[in-house]
Amino acid sequence: MGNQKLYKGSLQTIILKLLETNDKMYGYEITQKVKELTKGELKITEGALYPALHKLEADGLLDVEVAKVGNRLRKYYKLTESGTKETANKLDEMQEFLKTMQQLVNPKFSLE
């Protein structure tokens, strides 16, 4: 298992990217999707997921929809218009970050 701390600063970007691909998702679904996509390498804890989701919602990047599913209520999150724009910005930032890290950890790459 990788160092979870390294992923901490990228949680919002991960959530936004997932919602960009999946239209609307609920909390548990997000944790399972991340686990599945990273083959168990990254496990988002509930304690980290919900404050991040609520912050994105408060910032107007996510919209919520509450629906009755089976015998209980389910809260779905989806991107707002500004959320879609912010996702593109965050992904660009992430690409830049990865490029810089690549140059730092792989000197051959930076000499080219």
Binding site: Y28, E46, G47, Y50, P51, A58, N71
Partner: protein, 217 residues
């Protein structure tokens, strides 16, 4: 495998027992816990074992905790406090600025007002303070009376003491020194009081919105 209504009640009772009854979080956390149990039921766990395992994972998020932003005397479940901190942080800095900035300005720059305007200005400042004070008391009473718990109500509870910032200038009644300059600490208190009232107004609105959203659904 979907859990039965009776099993769902068991989970609801557990949440009620640990006093996790925040309407803006309850449905979401209940769904998360239930989904976790259902995935274990699919792996042939019994409901009792699955519930015990999921409870163990959630225990840490329900642990009573406090935050520097609200003070040690206010505590609740970790997941509630974490959400509250994320919502409150920008307002905390607004509140600090509203309190500290007038203190710095009026301590360092002496603005002297003509004696014939002092009575009018005192009356004006006292009137504004009285209006803000009444509105703040109105919010406090409404929130206490409603009894419905939301994360925003938790934040509001931590702000009640801010009423002191409005009471003190009102009791003093006079914001000016004999030479006609403003008394910095009273202006700071009043400005802090205005900030607290604005913060309470904002979170009271959020509190009402949350009740409407999740009670109707």
């Amino acid at each position: 495998m979907e859990i039965t209504t009776q099993q769902l009640h068991e989970i609801e009772n557990y949440l009620a027992k640990i006093k996790f009854d925040f309407v803006d979080l309850n449905a979401e956390i209940l769904d998360h816990i239930t989904s976790g149990i259902e995935s274990l039921l699919d792996k042939d766990y019994s409901f009792e074992n699955a519930f015990a395992l999921v409870k163990l994972r959630w225990e840490t998020h329900f642990k009573d905790t406090s935050s520097f932003f609200f003070g040690l005397m206010y505590s609740d479940s970790k997941i509630v406090v974490k959400k509250a901190v994320k919502m409150f942080k920008p307002f905390y800095f607004l509140y600090l600025t509203a309190y500290i900035l007038p203190m710095i300005i009026f301590t360092n720059i002496s603005i002297v007002f003509p004696k014939n305007t002092i009575d009018f200005l005192n009356g004006f400042l006292n009137s504004i303070s009285a209006v803000f004070f009444c509105y703040l008391i109105y919010i406090i009473l409404k929130v206490i009376k409603a009894k419905v718990k939301t994360t925003y109500r938790f934040i509001l509870k931590t702000q009640y003491l801010g009423v002191i910032f409005l009471i003190l200038p009102l009791l003093m009644g006079n914001y000016f020194n004999d030479d006609g300059s403003l008394i910095p600490f009273l202006i700071s208190f009043q400005s802090g009081g205005f900030a607290v009232t604005y913060i309470c107004h904002h979170f009271y609105k959020k509190h009402l919105e949350a009740i409407k959203k999740y009670k109707i659904s």
